[in-house]
């Protein structure tokens, strides 16, 4: 047997093994029929009754039993070769400190400021207060990315520009970057490595800062002692979960994240109505945190496990109402938020009587009608800086986040 022949035979035997074993293991035959049907229907120009080719491919890939193994293999190789940007289109880039992060383009903020100013005018007419909260991203300083990746990012520059224009338009805001820096935090301490969200602790600090601002400027009398650290239980989970970004890169590349479950150690009493109208009554830990998400049964496969970040306000932030029955002050706050607020709203609710929440990318009705109908005292727009500029891209899932009409 000559050499070339032997080499070809070994390689071809491996190819056959990979393809046939992979095909049987992934039960590809179950998808073949569906796939043929989808192709036939599209080709014949019939009204599509089945899934599209892309949907079948996605389903096939998602249910592939060796997908996790292959992602881990890919992640291991990426880590060994230091390919930090390999997943930039799906998960993000990996910074030198191991944090998965995004790189963001520049925006004019014209749309955002125009929408905020118009909303402010509308709210002023109705006698409703407005507060904008700028929630940071993993880095407070854009030069972090320049030094680490040699690339320009504009997320903080975009936020600075928007806040500057809001100051000129006499619109109140809190820049949480200043709050955290003032408390001596490094930005990365406040975020997960494998998820784009901030930690529960960061959300709690943000809630305290908002409460302080409501007291200072908006005539609230929130007891800030409710937010003191000694009034909370903290349960620390080490290497417990994998964030959304980490799922794209694999645990072998970016490892797992820790998680702090923070619950008040004092008596609480809530009535919470979540997205869809389901109402629950009980204590903070029962109705605002779904703790079964941390169970080992749900986390046997970290790639398929529910996101731990969403264990707070697990019933959804869209059109939810959180009533704190222990607080009878009576003011109603509407939070226009994003997923960062999953861990802000529960803590903010400790000091106020009612918080209603809307996520505008999911809310298709008129915001102004909602405000008029719900007797709101204060509107808080609490957005992560990554929301600024999303209106520049029509395909963005967050395209409507600044549409306050």
């Amino acid at each position: 047997m000559d050499k070339a022949n032997l080499e070809s035979k070994i390689v071809t035997a491996m190819l056959l093994a990979v393809v046939i074993v992979g095909s049987i293991w992934s039960k590809a035959y179950l998808y073949a029929d569906e796939f043929i049907q989808a192709v036939m229907e599209t080709t014949m120009g019939r009204e599509e009754t089945s899934l599209t080719q892309q949907e079948i491919q996605k389903e096939f890939l998602d249910k592939m039993p060796f997908k996790r193994m292959m992602i881990d293999l890919n992640g291991t190789m990426a880590q060994m070769l230091n390919l930090r940007e390999l997943y930039k289109n799906s998960g993000g880039v990996v910074l030198s400190n191991g944090y998965v992060s995004g790189i963001y383009g520049v925006t004019t903020t014209n749309y955002e400021i125009q929408q905020i100013v118009e909303l402010k005018e509308f709210l002023d007419e109705k006698g409703i207060q407005l507060l904008y909260v700028n929630e940071p991203t993993k880095y407070f300083d854009d030069t972090v990315i320049e030094k680490d990746m040699g690339k320009q990012t504009y997320i903080n520059a975009n936020a600075d520009l928007l806040l500057e224009r809001m100051a000129e338009a006499d619109i109140d805001y809190i820049d949480l970057r200043e709050i955290y820096t003032g408390l001596g935090f490094d930005s990365f301490d406040l975020f997960y490595r494998t998820d784009h969200h901030w930690t529960v602790r960061a959300g709690k600090i943000a809630a305290e800062a908002i409460a302080a601002e409501l007291n200072r400027k908006y005539g609230y009398n929130i007891d800030l002692a409710l937010y003191e650290d000694e009034r909370f239980f903290v349960t620390h989970y080490e290497n417990a979960w994998l964030g959304e970004q980490g799922r794209k890169l694999g645990t072998s590349f970016v490892g797992m994240d820790d998680f702090d479950l923070i619950l008040p150690n004092y008596y609480t009493d809530y009535t919470v109505t979540y997205t869809g109208g389901n109402t629950f009554a009980g204590a903070f830990e029962d109705v605002l945190v779904r703790q079964e998400i941390y169970s080992s049964e749900l986390n046997s496969n970290v790639y398929e496990a529910p996101s731990w970040h969403y264990s707070y306000m697990a019933g959804g932030l869209s059109e939810s109402v959180v009533c704190n029955n222990m607080n009878l002050e009576g003011k109603k706050i509407l939070v226009l938020g994003d997923s960062f607020d999953q861990v802000t709203v529960p803590f903010l609710s400790l000091g106020v009587s009612e918080i209603q929440t809307l996520v505008l990318r999911n809310y298709k009705e008129s915001l102004r009608e909602y405000i008029e109908e719900h007797d709101i005292d204060t509107v808080i727009i609490a957005y992560a800086s990554i929301m600024i500029g999303t209106h520049d891209n029509e395909d963005s899932a967050n395209y409507d986040m600044f549409d306050f009409s």
């Binding site: 035979k9 390689v11 992979g22 080719q53 293999l73």
Partner: protein
Amino acid sequence: MSTIDVIFLFIFLPAVFMTSALKHKWRKYVLLLLSCFFYACGSPVFFSLLAAAVVINVFLAYLLQKLKRNSYLAICILVLGIIFNIGGVFYYKYYNFVIENLNCILGTSFGVKNLLLPLGISFFAFKSISLLADVYCGKVVLGKNPVDSALYLSFFAQITSGPICRYNEFYAENTDFARGGYYFVLGFVKKVLLANVLSIITVEVFGMDLSKTTPAFLWLGAICYSLQLYYDFAGYSDMAVGLGEMCGISCCENFNYPYMTASVSEFWRRWHISLGSWFRDYVYIPLGGSRTKSKGRTYLNLFIVWFLTGIWHGANWTFIVWGLLYFIVISFEKIFDLPKKIHSKAGRAAYRACSLVFINLQWVIFNSANLQSGLAYIKGMFVSSGDGLANHRTAILLREYGIFIVAALLFATPIASKLKSWLSENDRRNQVGSIVMAGILCLLFIWAVSFVIAGQNNPFLYGNF
């Protein structure tokens, strides 16, 4: 569906393997069905167009075979066939380009159409024309079964991006399943591990605002694009050759270490060989080639070939200019008999380097959205305009992707072939070497599959042509 999709790997490919268990006479029917299905997956809207084009071309080919060569009717049918195929390409690929340019030049306002490009239309048209012309010339004798011709025109491994294989090569019957598997794996690895990874750099560099770039950054992008395009297309071609061999179908190799060229003319004898030989056999030689009475006519023939080569790649002035620049340089080499006239080793090395730089700059134009941006990019490669950040970025890219760039540069040379021939000098070394090299390729293939499953996948660049 492309040959690097999970659906292809785990659903379509097992079906292809199964065909090897069939008797030869049945296998071609199944392969034709699989080819139809493959095309329907990639271009469902145009499947009926493909089916009609296959039927018409096969019918015309049989008609030509029946007629006497040089007869008036045979010439008419051949011309009709060529017009039919070129007409299809013109309509779908160039109609809007012509209308837009007419409107621009004449100030007219003809409307453009919202046309999608049928998958692999240029490759299909060229194969069809070669079939008709070869049957007309008697180089190809069709058998009784029209399925042979239909399979030749629609074979799934070649329909999207070639190679533009000839009918007689296609049925050469010197195939080997194991060799096919080896080529498929090799092509898969080239495409996924080299072309796709290098594309991370090229997409970034070519998408960058030029005012923020530096020459080092732009050179890196240009060199990576040259390598990416090579591994993308050579990877596809290897996979096409491999799939063909596994199906008992032979196919010519399309690349022969093109960047090892000593001149620009030689480059085109090493790059996309099947396209170059198609233009030689069906355009250049029929026009008279270089055996014409006047030198002017020879260069006119060359001009026509390079103009067509340029525009074949796409309806854009960048491609036309790209083709015409090749015409100029290749004519220059022909007139001065270069590089043969250069006798010193250093001179030849310098000429080789200049040729590679020219080819590299040509790929910049090829990859640019328009001439202006292409020329601005080339200018930026020599004149500094950006700040230090781009140089910092260049260093980071080199540090992170250096291993891929070095591997791409190394395997663009015949280093692996040289190593193989050295190993084959000794029996024991030969055995061990085979096992080690096969093992490395197997590991690379599994790594490449992990890229596909992890979603790190890109379409083939030549799928656009």
